[in-house]
């Protein structure tokens, strides 16, 4: 679990098991990969509408809900024009029978 240590105090993107994307500064984590983000927001992509960012502030995300924690490259991120980026909602990880 110490793998998250190198992301401390860095901006990260977090994908959760319900398919949502959170962005913030990684303030802390524990053995179960529970994490705390500061200055966080949720980013919502749509195939047709412009990308939306919802301000959230400080956020604790349960380890069980975490799929990915990725370190953000600030330069590449700031060069990306998210108004022009479209995408699909990620699926959840439940694989429920349909």
């Amino acid at each position: 679990m110490s793998a998250l240590k190198s992301f401390l105090d860095e901006k990260v993107k977090v994908v959760t098991s319900d398919g949502r994307l959170f962005i913030g500064v990684l303030e802390g984590f524990d053995q179960s990969s529970n994490i705390v983000l500061s200055k966080s927001f949720e980013r919502i992509f749509s195939p047709t509408e412009p990308t939306k960012d919802l301000e959230l502030g400080s956020y604790l995300i349960r380890g069980e809900q975490i799929v990915i924690v990725g370190m953000l490259d600030d330069e590449e991120e700031s060069q990306t024009d998210y108004d022009k980026i479209h995408g699909f909602q990620l699926k959840d990880t439940k694989n429920a029978l349909r």
């Binding site: 098991s17 924690v69 490259d73 590449e76 990620l90």
Partner: protein, 100 residues
């Protein structure tokens, strides 16, 4: 512990991880822990359909959300794996008897 040891032999190799949310991520395996949580460097993923990982190069994947990990077969000694599996099966059978 078999697969933990197995993946430790694959550190610094390129693998492709398929997650339970259908996302596939290719990258260099940098570390692994006992829960099979992974750290990948230099990742590539299909950001056209899912732009979520734009500007991400290095990431942590929680083991519980992995469906498959595709590995280059030239990196795998299948005989060694089979022997290790038999040994692990014996060891866990022994644990149960010993525990009674």
């Amino acid at each position: 512990m078999l697969f933990f040891s197995f993946f430790k032999t694959l550190v610094d190799q390129e693998i492709t991880v398929e997650l339970k949310n259908d996302v596939e991520i290719k990258g260099t395996l940098k570390s692994i822990d006992q829960y099979l949580n992974l750290k990948l460097d230099n990742i590539s993923a299909n950001t056209t359909k899912y732009p979520h990982l734009i500007a991400v190069r290095n990431l942590f994947i929680r083991g519980s959300n992995i469906r498959y990990i595709h590995i280059n077969p030239s990196l795998v000694d299948t005989n060694l794996l089979q022997d290790a599996s038999r040994r692990e099966a014996m060891a866990s059978a022994g644990d149960k008897i010993g525990g009674k």
